[in-house]
Each structure stands twice: as structure tokens, then as C-alpha cells.
């Protein structure tokens, strides 16, 4: 039997979030991260119960094709009737109701783009196959996903009001059992009554909604919170205010109170935080231009405030507001906020890069997403779409052909009809580790690198990432592990690592570049160098080819590195340089190297393997 909304134990935040959405559909939607096998979709499907009867609930299959999503010409019906018959897409079928996506983080990026577009318009523009129509598509998006599958694209999250914070609470594997136990004991009458009550509550809240008011100070406090959490964009302000109002409406109040604001902060702002206001470390992660002028300091605010709040009363508020916000936020943060909140927001940064490094459209492999006109010779022909596009023309072509006196053929297909297959593939990234194996710290660095390689490979299947490892010591660099996805192989190859000797940095860069170029020919387009070194190269490239070559002066060595770095960068290879040397030994060469490569520099003395992985993924 179905599990009803009221039967679900735990997931309180998720339930609260869905109820807010039921009250105010303008919140756009709810995204619920939750662990695998927890039956996370149960709650989303049960959501339909508490909505008014007849509200559409459409589930989006992950492998949806573009024409099913957006809509298009129903060819079968069109050919049968002779008039153009339009088939509505999934997006417009969800109009006025719920669009539910399970594993939303696995949805391919073109589908995500179309959903984003529909949300921002409230309708779908169908400009396909000779069709030009507008279908209304105003829906609430409910998405569930497992964060270990990767993250949801930020652009999409930005259009969805509520993101349930990922906490241990969501992981209700244990609770599923409770559900079952509870279910066994309950009779259906109870469930029905409870559901009716809940539906009534939501109905009442909907009616209350227009009568709830929020003060300017409260709006200001919410915005201030958004700024100090480093939340990007201004759209989120509107969601926060709406969530607070919906919460008040649920409580049948006509004024927004502190608890409403806290709930709004928790469900709308905190999951989008890029930093915590009380932790300096997180602030460092922010790009400089995004840095707000103040962190809570009243001076910054005084400059801005007079422009809009002219009276003395407002000035007094200005003094009060920061305290109020801090209190609000701290309360909201403390409420069962996971310890790993910063990791989560780091993950949210990671996901922005995942979006770009995740998938690429190509003509060879991956999942078939669409058929489009193209060259037959070099691509795979999409047979059915080709036949479909040829079908309507058979009659007229037959006449033409007869006129021209050509031989009869069963089917007249021209070049114009040919449709080729376009695939979408998670192409993944090749991480090339280059580890300085010279000097005294070499063993340590090597261990870190090995750990990082293993850890990256363990997650490799998600993004189809590959890892290679180059070590450099003595006269020249050496590929210890060619590009690979195999954890076992990496372990085997990396078991014995010689260390000590000179630092042939140029040779390592050269070898890395060669490896990158080879990988490109195999279709890996995204490549990242992870250099673990103090950046002090002392052996030139000459030495690699000619052991008897004279030792180059320092300037020459620098020039070599610079030229190589420029070429590597020009080839679109991203780089990070991780310096593990203790500070007092460093002479600033590593940051310079990072700059030459157009990459980023991380100073991580005693870095753990996980930190290296994090640095590599965050870039």
C-alpha cells in the first residue's frame, strides 16, 4: 500500500518544506538531498496527498528526450489525420501541479536547462519541427537526490525556493523500519483522518496567506543574513520572504514572527551559504569581487542606510538590526545544523564546476538525446527520425520522381531527411598528479599524492574521471601511472616509489603536457594538473634529452618553465599547485608557478590526502 505523508516518521524538515510549498506554490519547489536506499522518494510522492484534489503530479523520467520534455508534433496522429497534431511535453503536463524528479542530480544538463527555462518563464516555448507554440508550464518542482551521485546544478537550485539541508535526519534508513512498524499497527481510517486534517490545515493557510504581513525591518534582517552568508544573487531574497510568510500562514498568524524567519533562513539561505559568518577561514574562499563591504560591521552599513531610511527611527533600527540578525542566524544555525556545513557549501561550489566538467554533447557515445540534421558519413544515422522526416514527403516526391522519369523506389529519401544521433556523455576529467620526489620531504609528499589518487579513483565512476601520476626526481620525470580508472592498478604501480635527488620540474611539465595531449586524442577534453611541489626546479629540460648537457643558469630555467606553462595553459589545461613545504623554507616559488600556469595555489602543510582531493575538485 501507499505510505501517506503523515505516516512518514522523521524527515521533519523535509515535511515542513513541502508544507510551505503547498501553501505558497510561488516558492518554486523543494529539493531534498538524502542517502541512497532511504526511500527518499516516498515523501515526495506522498506530497500529492496534501495538495488540493486534482492537482497534477507528473514524474519526470531521467532518460527523457528533448521532444518528450518540451513537446512537439505528434507525427503518428499528424500523418493519420492530415492536420498537425501537437503533443504536449512533460513540462506543460505538470502545469498547475507538481513536477517530480527523482535523482535530480543525475538529470542531464540539457534537460536541466529546459526545466530552468520553463521555471523562469512559467511556460514552455516550443520552437520545434515547424511548430511554434507557447504552452503554459507553471509548476512546483520537487526533486530528491543522493549527494554522493553528484550535486544539482546551481542555476537550477537558484530557481527553486527551498533546499532541505542535508543532515543525519534525512538519512532515515533506520526510520524506514519505524514506518513499517507503524504502518502495521495503524488502520487506514486514522491515516485518512490525519491526511484530511493536514489538507484542511494547508487550505486554511492558503486562505490566510494574503493576510500575512512582514515588516521592512524583518525583510532587511533576512537580506542582511543572506549577505553575511555570502549567498549569490538577489532572487533568493524573495524566496526567503515568501517562506517566512508561508510559515506564518501555516500557524494562522497575520504577522511574521521570529520562528518563521528562522525557518526561512534554515530552508532557503543556509543551504546556499558560501561561508559562515563566524568563521574567517570560509571567507577566504570567496572571490574578492563578491566580498561584501562589511561582515556585520556597522560602519559599512551606515554608509548605505541613509540613502533609503531617512528618519531617526530607522537609524535606531540600524543599531539593533545586526544583533538581531546575528541572534537569528546563530539560532537557526544551531538548530540541528550538521557539523559539516562548510563541507556542504564547499560541495555547492564544487557542483558549479561539476556542471561544466560533467557532460559534453558529442556524436559518438553516451546517451542518445536528440536527432538532428547532419552529415551521414561521419555520424551515426538515427533511422527512425530519418524515416519520420521523410514520410510526409513521399507523395509529392513520388510525383516529382515520376515526372523526371526516374525508376520507382519504395522509399524516397533525400539528404535533407537524414538525421544523425547526438549523444550526451559524462566525459570526466583527467587529473594528472605531478609529484616532486626530490628532497627530504619527498616521502611525505608521495604518500599524500597516493592517498589523493586512491581517493579520487574511488569516486571516479561518478564523473568518469581518470587519474595519472608523474613523479620527478634526479634528471627527469617519469610517468608512474598512465591515465587510469583502476584503483587496483594505481595501488600496484605506486607501491614502490624512489625518492631523492634533483628537481626536474620542466621535465615533469613537459611529460604532463604530452600525457594531456594523448588523452585529448582519446576524447578526454578536461584535464587538470595537480602539482605537489615547492616549485623550485633546478634541472633543465635539456638534461632530459641529453644527460651530458651543461647545467643551465637560473634565468634560463625560469624561462623554460614559463614557456612550457604558457603552452600548457593555452591548451586549456587547468592547474593547481599544492605547496606542502613548511613556511619558513618557502621562497615563494610555488605561488609563482601557479601564476604562470594560470592556476591556483594552495598552501597545505601536512596536507591530508582528502584536502588535496578537495582542492582539486573545488577548482
Amino acid at each position: 500500500m501507499m505510505i501517506a505523508f503523515t505516516d512518514i516518521v522523521g524527515m521533519d524538515l523535509a515535511k515542513q518544506a513541502l508544507m510551505l510549498l503547498a501553501v505558497d506554490s510561488e516558492l518554486g519547489g523543494v529539493v531534498i538531498p538524502s542517502a541512497v536506499g532511504s526511500g527518499k522518494s516516498t515523501i515526495a510522492r506522498a506530497f500529492a496527498d496534501i495538495l488540493p484534489k486534482g492537482t497534477p503530479f507528473v514524474e519526470l523520467p531521467l532518460n527523457v528526450t528533448e521532444d518528450r520534455l518540451i513537446g512537439g508534433v505528434d507525427l503518428e496522429a499528424t500523418l493519420a489525420t492530415g492536420i498537425r497534431v501537437v503533443q504536449h511535453g512533460v513540462l506543460s503536463k505538470a502545469n498547475g501541479g507538481v513536477l517530480y524528479v527523482d535523482s535530480i542530480s543525475l538529470l542531464d544538463s540539457s534537460a536541466v536547462s529546459h526545466i530552468m527555462d520553463a521555471i523562469s518563464r512559467g511556460e514552455v516555448l516550443v520552437e520545434r519541427e515547424g511548430l511554434s507554440e507557447v504552452h503554459p508550464a507553471k509548476f512546483m518542482l520537487v526533486g530528491t537526490y543522493d549527494p554522493t551521485d553528484g550535486e544539482v546544478r546551481m542555476g537550477l537550485l537558484d530557481r527553486i525556493g527551498i533546499i532541505v539541508p542535508f543532515t543525519a535526519q534525512n538519512d532515515y534508513r533506520a526510520r524506514k523500519k519505524i514506518v513499517n512498524i507503524v504502518l502495521g499497527k495503524r488502520d487506514e481510517e486514522d491515516t485518512k483522518d490525519e491526511l484530511n486534517m493536514l489538507a484542511g490545515l494547508i487550505q486554511a493557510a492558503r486562505e490566510q496567506l494574503p493576510h500575512v504581513s512582514i515588516t521592512s525591518e524583518q525583510v532587511q534582517a533576512l537580506i542582511q543574513t543572506a549577505i553575511s552568508l555570502g549567498v549569490e544573487g538577489n532572487r533568493v531574497d524573495i524566496f526567503t520572504v515568501r517562506a517566512a510568510i508561508a510559515s506564518a500562514a501555516l500557524a494562522q498568524r497575520s504577522d511574521v514572527e521570529e520562528e518563521d524567519m528562522k525557518l526561512a533562513i534554515k530552508l532557503v539561505l543556509i543551504p546556499r551559504a558560501t561561508r559562515m559568518p563566524d568563521r574567517e577561514a570560509a571567507a577566504d574562499e570567496m572571490p574578492p569581487q563578491e566580498e561584501p563591504p562589511q561582515d556585520e560591521e556597522p560602519e559599512g552599513e551606515d554608509e548605505e542606510a541613509p540613502a533609503d531610511t531617512p528618519d531617526a527611527e530607522a537609524e535606531e533600527e540600524q543599531k539593533e538590526t545586526p544583533d538581531m540578525i546575528e541572534e537569528l542566524m546563530m539560532d537557526a544555525v544551531e538548530m540541528e545544523l550538521p557539523d559539516n556545513i562548510l563541507n556542504i557549501s564547499l560541495a555547492s561550489k564544487k557542483k558549479t564546476t561539476t556542471g561544466s566538467r560533467g557532460e559534453a554533447l558529442n556524436n559518438r557515445r553516451g546517451r542518445f538525446v536528440r536527432a538532428q540534421p547532419g552529415e551521414m558519413r561521419t555520424n551515426k544515422v538515427a533511422l527512425i527520425p530519418t524515416l519520420i522526416s521523410a514520410a510526409p514527403w513521399q507523395e509529392t516526391r513520388r510525383r516529382d520522381s515520376k515526372m523526371a522519369g526516374r525508376a520507382k523506389t519504395a522509399l524516397l529519401i533525400t539528404k535533407d531527411d537524414v538525421k544523425i544521433k547526438r549523444f550526451r556523455d559524462k566525459s570526466g576529467t583527467l587529473f594528472i598528479f605531478m609529484v616532486d620526489a626530490s628532497g627530504s620531504m619527498a616521502l611525505n609528499r608521495m604518500r599524500q599524492a597516493k592517498g589523493a589518487v586512491a581517493s579520487l579513483l574511488q569516486n571516479a565512476y561518478v564523473h568518469r574521471d581518470q587519474v595519472a601520476l608523474i613523479s620527478f626526481r634526479g634528471k627527469q620525470a617519469q610517468v608512474l601511472l598512465p591515465p587510469s580508472q583502476s584503483v587496483d592498478r594505481a595501488k600496484r604501480e605506486l607501491d614502490v616509489l624512489p625518492t631523492g635527488g634533483g628537481t626536474p620540474l620542466a621535465s615533469a611539465l613537459y611529460l604532463g603536457w604530452e600525457t594531456a595531449k594523448q588523452a585529448r586524442t582519446k576524447g578526454i577534453s578536461q584535464i587538470m594538473f595537480v602539482l605537489i611541489t615547492d616549485g623550485r626546479g633546478n634541472i633543465g629540460l635539456q638534461a632530459t634529452f641529453n644527460p651530458d648537457a651543461e647545467k643551465l643558469p637560473k634565468e634560463e630555467l625560469e624561462k623554460e618553465i614559463e614557456a612550457l606553462s604558457l603552452s600548457i595553459q593555452a591548451d586549456g589545461v587547468a592547474s593547481i599547485v599544492i605547496d606542502t613545504q613548511m613556511n619558513y623554507l618557502s621562497r615563494g616559488e610555488a605561488p609563482k608557478l601557479a601564476q604562470k600556469l594560470g592556476g591556483r595555489y594552495f598552501y597545505l602543510p601536512n596536507a591530508k590526502a582528502e584536502q588535496i582531493v578537495e582542492a582539486a575538485l573545488s577548482f
Binding site: 512559467g122 507557447v134 494574503p210 544573487g233 563578491e290 548605505e304 533609503d308
Partner: protein
């Protein structure tokens, strides 16, 4: 030369006369047929948030306005943070656009002259009497190109319904036809599929759209102001496409609390009662529309001294900008900017205000450069201005 032709099918048609070749209504020459053509109807969707009610983001607003004043500026690319009102602003544009004149019902929005030139010279057609052709005024079209658009809808194709029901091959114009003399807007332009980018680059370069399908060959004017928006984090833009945009506006999250409170207030007000909200801004909308029209009218009278032109050239040279598109864009944009301010002489003050918009995306990428593009332009501009004053 004729802009639309049905040449290729002629032989077949002559032989039997069984197949009636009828490309688009406009191709068949007679004005009465033109009426049957679908007008480039503006899609009716809900009310758009008024342009004048948008708080902040002046850079983006100015770039759009300057492009209305002089469409030859070449469009604008708006890149920036999520949720900062990029698409809201572009979609609000339609309401403040001036009117243009076109031949009544013409799918390609052509002027009378263009229409006559294209249709009159056609072989086998009767001479057109200019007096018999009526014209109408329509708002500058704004056409939305969604990411999921297929190539045939963008370029136009053969009307499948007509082909099935009456065996007639009729050309059905696409979005490029509708966008002629107007704006073509692509949201999330950096995610646009490569094959559509190819089409756009082709058409943008030639100003013409050519379609060959089912033996029909159609060629029609397609000049439009390209407007794109997107978030750079989601993906890179093809360099060739980037180069096509005249201006590049950047947009970041507003951090001023008072402004943000204002944004929330206005948005809520609009959501509650769109009609009342529109009414409230009606006057400002009309005022802006009028100001833009006045600037358009003033534009031919605006002049620029050689000294200013020299400074612009020097600025571009010092910044190492390839080609002449940089100078050309700055000059046109500065003219439009002066006209918008109601002034008839372009000074370096005008140049200064728009130089960043024109050049930001044209700087050569120097890997060792740590300066932000905008700062670099400002610095060089200051140098040029310093020199200019010294002379």
C-alpha cells in the same frame, strides 16, 4: 537581386504543372497573398515586469537602451551571477521599444523599399504598384530563442501541414525571419548547442538567412540585435560568438541592503497585482520610451571631433585590441550614448562611460595579467585622457 526565389523547382513545375510550387506567401509576389501570411505575432505571455521598475544593474540597462538607439552597435552579452534579474530585464525591454514601419503583414518585417526591391525584380511577376501596398507600425520585435529550438524552426522550413493536406510546398518562416529588424534574445546563451551557434554566426555575419529544403531555395533578410545572457560558471561561450556581441555587460549580486529591500517590495507588489503595478510605472515607461525615440531622432545630428576619434584609436591600440571592431563599436556606442543624454557632440566623457562595455571581451587574454579587464581599460583610458589633456 531578388532576395527570395523559387528557382530550383521551376523545371519540375513546368513539365506537368501538377506540383504547385508555392514558397512562402510573400514569395508569390501578389500583395493579397501577403495578407494570408502569419503576422510575426508577438507571443502573448503574462505581463512582463516593467523595465523602469528594475532596481540597479545600470550597466545592463544602459547597454540595452544604447542598442535600441543604434542597432548597429551589435547587441549585448549580459553575463553574471545567478538570480540578478538578467532575463527579467531583457524581457522587460519589449515594453519600452519604439515603433517601426513595415509592409502590412510582412513576415520579414520589411520596409516598403526593401519589400519592393525584393519582390519587384522577380522574374515573371507583375510589376508592383507601391501605392497599393499598405504599411503598418509595429513595436520593434523581440524574439525569444529557447535552448530547445530545432534548426528548422530557427531558420524556417517547409510547412508540413500544407504539404500533407494540399501537396503544396510552402515556406514557413522561422524565428530568424521574425527577428528581422528586431531583437533576438537567447537566455543561457553559453549553453546553446553548437549547431545553432553555427547557424547564428552565419546569419549574423551576412544579415541573410538561406534555406534550401525540398528543392525550394529561400533567402530572406535577417538583421537583428543579438542579446544573450548567462552565468559564466555554467559554461564558456565560443570565442567567435563572443566576438559577435557589440557590448559586454557584467552583472553582480547587489549588496546594498536598501536596494535589495526595494527589489523584494516591488516584486511582491507586482506579484500581488500586476495590473496596478504596471499602471504605477506607466508614466515612467512612456517617458523612457519617448526619451529613446528622441535619442533615435537626434542620432543623425550627433558629431564627433577627430581628436576624440584619435583618442579612441589610441586607447584600442594601447590595449592591443585586434582588428577594428573595437574602435567601431566604441564610436557607435558613444554616439548613441551622447544622443541618449540629449547631446549632439561626443566627448571623451561619453567614451569613458562606455569603453568598458565595448572592450571588456575584446582584450587579448594574457595569462600573466593579474589585472581585471575593466581595471585595465580604466587605466589605459586614464593614460589616454591624461595625454589628451596635455595636448
Amino acid at each position: 537581386m531578388s532576395q527570395t526565389e523559387t528557382a530550383a523547382k521551376k523545371t519540375a513545375a513546368k513539365k506537368t504543372g501538377a506540383v504547385k510550387v508555392k514558397a512562402d506567401a510573400t514569395v508569390t509576389t501578389a500583395p493579397e497573398a501577403t495578407k494570408a501570411a502569419k503576422p510575426a505575432a508577438k507571443k502573448k505571455s503574462g505581463l512582463a515586469f516593467p523595465f523602469t521598475a528594475i532596481v540597479g544593474q545600470e550597466e545592463m540597462k544602459l547597454s540595452l537602451i544604447l542598442n535600441i538607439i543604434d542597432p548597429r552597435i551589435g547587441g549585448v552579452l549580459v553575463m553574471g551571477h545567478r538570480g540578478t534579474g538578467k532575463s527579467t530585464t531583457v524581457r522587460a525591454l519589449a515594453e519600452v521599444l519604439p515603433l517601426i514601419e513595415r509592409v502590412e503583414g510582412d513576415t520579414y518585417n520589411r520596409t516598403l523599399e526593401q519589400y519592393l526591391e525584393a519582390e519587384d525584380g522577380k522574374k515573371g511577376a507583375k510589376a508592383l504598384d507601391p501605392a497599393s501596398i499598405r504599411t503598418e507600425k509595429i513595436p520593434v520585435p523581440v524574439v525569444d530563442l529557447p535552448l530547445g529550438a530545432t534548426e528548422d524552426r530557427v531558420c524556417g522550413t517547409i510547412d508540413i501541414e500544407q504539404a500533407l493536406t494540399s501537396g503544396v510546398k510552402a515556406f514557413e518562416p522561422g524565428l530568424l525571419a521574425q527577428a528581422n529588424r528586431g531583437f533576438l534574445y537567447i537566455d543561457e546563451v553559453n549553453l546553446l548547442d553548437d549547431h545553432l551557434v553555427d547557424v547564428l554566426l552565419d546569419v549574423a555575419a551576412s544579415g541573410k538567412n538561406v534555406v534550401e529544403r525540398e528543392g525550394i531555395s529561400i533567402r530572406h533578410p535577417a538583421r537583428f540585435v543579438l542579446v544573450g545572457s548567462g552565468n559564466p560558471e555554467e559554461g564558456e561561450l565560443r570565442p567567435q560568438l563572443l566576438d559577435r556581441f557589440g557590448l559586454h555587460a557584467r552583472i553582480i549580486t547587489i549588496l546594498d541592503i536598501a536596494k535589495r529591500v526595494d527589489i523584494v517590495k516591488r516584486r511582491r507588489e507586482f506579484d500581488e497585482d500586476p495590473d496596478a503595478f504596471m499602471k504605477k510605472y506607466n508614466r515612467e515607461q512612456l517617458k523612457l520610451q519617448k526619451k529613446i525615440q528622441q535619442a533615435k531622432d537626434l542620432l543623425p545630428e550627433v558629431t564627433m571631433t577627430d581628436a576624440v576619434l584619435t583618442d579612441i584609436a589610441r586607447l584600442c591600440m594601447n590595449l592591443g585590441i585586434d582588428g577594428h571592431r573595437g574602435e567601431l563599436t566604441i564610436t557607435r556606442t558613444a554616439y548613441a550614448h551622447a544622443a541618449f543624454l540629449g547631446e549632439t557632440v561626443v566627448t571623451m566623457k561619453h567614451v569613458k562611460e562606455i569603453a568598458g562595455l565595448c572592450l571588456r571581451h575584446r582584450l587579448r587574454k594574457d595569462p600573466l595579467e593579474t589585472l581585471d579587464a575593466g581595471e585595465k581599460i580604466d587605466r589605459e583610458l586614464a593614460k589616454v585622457l591624461g595625454e589628451a589633456e596635455a595636448v
